[in-house]
Structure formats: C-alpha cells, structure tokens
C-alpha cells in the first residue's frame, strides 16, 4: 500500500460521520441484498385478525390494512429503493458529464448558451421536472428513475463544466494543445481524468438526494406501482409504503414513521459517506478544521505592530 493511499484511508477514518456513513451503507446494502428472500414471506402474508395493529412484540411497526407486517415490508422495500436510486444516479452522472464535457469543449458563444441552459435547468425545482418527464412517459418505476436522473443531470453538467474550466486553464493542457492533440483527446485524457475525484464525491452526495426524490414520486403515486401476487415483494419501495402509511396515519401511525425514518437514514448515510470521500480527495477540508480560527497573517501583523 502506498503512503498516499494510507494517508487517504486515515483521512477517511478521521471523520466520524464518514465511518458512520460507511457502516450504515453496508447495513443498507446487506438488507437490500437479502431483504426480499428473507422477509418476503412475512411482508406479504396477510392476517385479517390483526388489521392496523399498533406496535407489538411480533409486529415492530404494527400492521397495515391487510394485516401485513410493516417492519418486514420496510426491510423488503430497501432493495427497490436502492436500485432505483442507483439507476437514476447512473443516468444523471453519465448524461450530465457528457453534456458538461460537450459544452466545455466547444467554447465560444455556443458554450455560453449551453451554460445558460444548464443553469436554467439547475434552477428549476427538480420535482416539477420529474413530473413533466413522467407526463411524457408511462407512469411507473422506470419512468420515475429516468425522471429523477434527468432532473439531477444538470448538477453533474455544471460540476463538469466548472471543474473542466479550472483544469483547462492550466499549463499542461496548453502543452497538450501545443502538441496538436485533438479536442476530444484533450477533454477525456487531460481534463476529465483530472476531475474524476470530484465526480466520485458528487455521485455519492447525489445518491441520497436521488433516493429521496424517487421516494417522493412513489409517495405521490407517480413512481413505483405496487403489484399483487408473487411480484409483490419486488414492487414495494419506501415511497409506496410511506404513502400507504400516511393514508392509515390515524389508525396506525408507526407504519408511516418506519419508511419515513428509512428514507431519512438512507439519505443521511449517503451524505455522510460523500462527505468522508470529499475529505479524502480534498485534504484542505480536513486541514481547515485543524487550523485555529485566527488568521495567521493578521496575527503576525499585530505582533510586529506591538
């Protein structure tokens, strides 16, 4: 292991939130992987003698209107929630980076127009953009994933554009240009490879937000459409559960709190993990915390004055 690698791991380990995020993410991934097969039967088994049951020993979050255990349902919902978030982040990052790199490499007036479009797109409330996309596509999990992907794409485009502009003004890029390299080669090999760190951090920070956005769409009935029968365990996500929970809120409030906490915790875990990663790639963030608040230059000035 190189020294640089080791110091990066130390930087990550030095952030309690980063570690907490990593642990939470690990738990989430395990639950997502085993969820439907382990708790699937319990999550879909109906029990008409215990409808809207409050929290009891056997039902940690109570039961819903068909007597199904809500804790098991929340655990089972982890997989679809995480999968859809992964899909939308993939769409957002690939599309955004391509767009940002494209706009960054053309230059001139086209670049200015492109930047304006990206900024307008970025300023528009993401839920409204998702709603517009869902109007066009057929309602469902796939549409929600694409919609959220499209509404987060300008974030990656802006990031690529801004960082690429910073890198592009450096000498080694000019050197590459003098060597007569093509624009595309300059963009991919010289510029993109230098901003990959920031993109990785952004992907993880966006992950939680995408998960929250998709859950919001499912919650509004515009995302995941719950199925019945054998497919049921693969068609519940936290947004659907939250929607059902809110509808039964006065009868069984715990049922809404479960998925609500799951969404909040998952969002938080990705955010924390992203922060930890940012510390690895950008050591200045850690340094700033260690230096005293008083600015050193001013201190020396006052010292020389006295």
């Amino acid at each position: 292991m190189t020294r640089r690698k080791r110091s990066r791991i130390r930087a990550f380990a030095g952030t309690p939130t980063g570690i907490a995020g990593l642990v939470l993410l690990g738990v989430l991934v395990v639950v997502a992987a085993i969820g439907p097969s382990v708790w699937g039967d319990k999550a879909t088994a109906t029990d008409y003698l215990h409808l809207y049951s409050p929290t009891t020993g056997s039902h940690f979050l109570g039961t819903d209107g068909s007597g199904r255990d809500l804790f098991a349902r929340t655990l089972v919902g982890t997989r679809l929630s995480l999968l859809l978030a992964t899909g939308s982040v993939a769409i957002a990052s690939v599309l955004g980076v391509l767009l940002g790199a494209g706009v960054a490499s053309v230059g001139g007036r086209v670049q200015r127009i492109g930047a304006t479009v990206i900024d307008t797109w970025l300023g528009f409330p993401s839920i409204l953009l998702s709603v517009l996309v869902i109007t066009v596509l057929e309602r469902g999990a796939g549409a929600a994933m694409i919609a959220v992907g499209l509404s987060f794409a300008p974030f990656f485009a802006r990031l690529t554009l801004t960082s690429a502009a910073a890198v592009a003004s450096q000498d080694f890029v000019s050197a590459g240009r003098l060597l007569g390299l093509s624009r595309r080669r300059l963009t991919t090999r010289y510029v993109l490879s230098n901003i990959i760190d920031q993109l990785v951090v952004a992907i993880f920070s966006t992950f939680g937000q995408c998960l929250i956005a998709i859950s919001a769409l499912s919650f509004l009935g515009l995302g995941v459409q719950p199925l019945v029968g054998a497919q049921e365990r693969f068609s519940i996500d936290w947004g659907v559960l939250l929607d059902q929970g809110v509808k039964n809120f006065s009868a069984a409030p715990a049922g809404a709190l479960g998925p609500a906490f799951a969404i909040a915790i998952a969002g938080l875990a990705f955010g924390w993990f992203g922060d930890g990663l940012a510390r690895i790639f950008n050591p200045r963030l850690t340094l700033r915390r260690l230096t005293p608040r008083v600015e050193p230059t001013r201190q020396t000035q006052t010292e020389s004055a006295t």
């Binding site: 109007t135 066009v136 969002g267 938080l268 608040r293 001013r298």
Partner: protein, 319 residues
C-alpha cells in the same frame, strides 16, 4: 444608459429567455406524449354516439390546436403562454385560469409561510451561533454543523409525517382537522421552512465569522459600540447579502417541497392539482401549473438579484 438601467434590462432579458425555454419545454413535453392527446380527453367522458364522438375528437383537436402545422402550434402556444390562457381542463372542462385562481391561494400561503420560517429562523440562528463560535466553543460548532446537516437533509415529506405524529397525534398542539384559521398554516410552514432554515443558518454562520474577523468590526469593538449597534449596523447588513443569494436558491426547493407536502396536510392547492393532473393526463393543467412554478422561481431569483444590487451595487458588475 446608466448602470442600473443596463442591469435591469439584462435581468429582464434573462426572465424572457428563461420563460421561452420553459414554454418550449412544456410544449415539447405535451407533444412527446405517445398517442393522440385528444383521444385521451374525449376518453374521459363516456356515453357518446359515434357521430358525437367524431365531433368531440375534432373539437378536442381544435382546442389543443392539433389541427394546425407544428410551427403554428408552437407560436400559438407562445401566445397562450404570454396571455396565460391555456384553454380548459380536460377533466372538468373548467377554464385552466379559473382552476389556478381557485387553488393558488393555498399554495401561496404555504410557500410564503415556509419562506418566512426559513428567513426568520435561519438568519438569526446563523448569526447567533456564529457569534458564539467565533474562535471558541469548538463543541458547539461540531454539534451545530452535525445537527444542521442532519435536519437540512431530511426531505419535507418525512418532516411532515413526523411533525403530524408528534404535534397533532401525540401532543394535540394543532387541530386534527383544519378549521380555516391562521393556525392551520403554522405546522405546514414550519415543516417546509425548517430544513431550508438550517441550511441557511449554516451559510450565515460562516459569513458571520467572516464579518466578525474583519478590521472594521475590530474598530467598532475598540470604540466600545454597544452590542446591539455592532450586530445591527455592522454585522447583519454584511451577512444579509450572501444569505439572500442562498435563500433565493433554497426557495426553488421549498416550492418543490410544497408540491409534495400539500397532500399530507389535506390542502387542495396547485401541488395536489398538478399531481392529479399528471396522473390522468390533463395536459393543459400540467403545462400551466409547471410554467407558473417555473416562472415563480425565475421571478423570485430576479427580485433577489435586484435587491442584492440595491444593497451592494458591486454585484451588478459581476453578473
């Protein structure tokens, strides 16, 4: 032309350009829907003879301007957008304008309440924590940044569920059924505003620290200005400029939150109307409401820019 004239002109041009982009986007969205939208409208009302059916289809085509060339459709769409005339709702046959007029009040109250909470909580909280953590109380800094990050990242619909659980079901502080008084707006406003408020407070705290370490504050301190004067005259105005910029950005997410939260609080505002319209494919309503929201975001950001320029004319040059 004066600086101000040029600045306002530039901002107005931007509003126009962005509105054009929005109009084009909604136009494209409705045209991209697979199948014939007109078929969808008349499908909503049943019990027609075939002749009536054909007549209804033709009328729907005319209403949507679908019987004209695409270019003509586009410009008619632009004209409709400028006069804010989007025809009638497919579902109720009510004029879109009057539907929006009926529902906008509830949404405005929600958005305004959330914005007030964001500003009234966020700015003082940031300044106070900033003043308290200026070079001391490391623990408070850690606690505050952890807590504000946590609260700021919880989506409003989750806050709403938890808020109703505690404030309505457990403690009965707010009535279960809205009674039409101002009290109804308190909980939704808090729910919408609390997340953005803490995010705003984070930024304000950093700016406060920045201002407190400036030379002019040291000068003011050395002249033994009263604390109230120091913070009121020297610190607060200098913190407000960046705070306003962030507040403008947060307003967009607050508006998006309002769309999601409306249903939970049983309000019949533009948000729930929009969601319902998307579900049944009521395109005139969908495009009108999304345009309105988009326009609101642009207008608020322009107002923020103008206010900033009035407070600190240097920002006019930069943008």
């Amino acid at each position: 032309m004066t600086n101000w004239g040029r600045f306002i002109l530039r901002r107005l041009i931007r509003v126009v350009v962005v509105s054009l982009v929005l109009l084009t986007a909604t136009f494209a969205a409705v045209r991209l829907v697979p199948g014939d939208p007109a078929q969808k409208i008349i499908g909503m009302t049943t019990d027609r003879t075939p002749a009536e059916q054909a007549k209804a289809l033709a009328r729907a085509h005319r209403d949507l301007h679908l019987d004209r060339p695409l270019v003509v459709q586009y410009f008619e769409n632009l004209r409709d957008g400028m006069t804010f005339d989007f025809g009638r709702s497919f579902q109720t046959n009510q004029e879109v304008r009057s539907v929006i007029g009926d529902r906008i009040g509830s949404t405005l109250r929600l958005a305004a309440g959330g914005t007030i909470v964001m500003l009234v909580v966020g700015v003082p909280l940031g300044v106070i924590i900033g003043a308290l953590t200026n070079g001391r109380r490391r623990w408070l800094e850690t606690v505050f940044s952890g807590l504000s990050g946590f609260i700021g990242s919880i989506p409003p619909y989750v806050v709403a569920v938890v808020g109703i659980y505690f404030f309505v079901n457990m403690w009965s502080i707010f009535p279960r059924i809205p009674d039409g008084s101002l009290l109804d707006d308190v909980l939704p406003s808090l729910v919408l505003g609390v997340g953005p408020a803490f995010l705003l407070a984070r930024v304000v705290r950093i700016d406060t620290l920045d201002v407190l370490n400036q030379d002019y504050v040291r000068t003011a301190r050395s002249k033994w200005l009263s604390v109230r004067r120091l913070y009121g005259r020297d610190v607060l105005p200098n913190v407000l400029t960046p705070a306003l910029t962030i507040a403008g950005v947060l307003f967009a997410s607050l508006l998006g939150g309002a769309v999601v939260v409306e249903g939970i609080f049983g309000r019949n505002g533009l948000g729930s109307t929009l969601i319902n319209a998307v579900q049944i494919g009521d395109y005139p309503l969908v495009s009108a409401i999304s345009l309105l929201f988009g326009f609101a975001v642009v207008v608020v950001n322009t107002v923020v820019d103008l206010t900033l320029a009035a407070i600190d004319p240097r920002t006019m040059v930069a943008t």
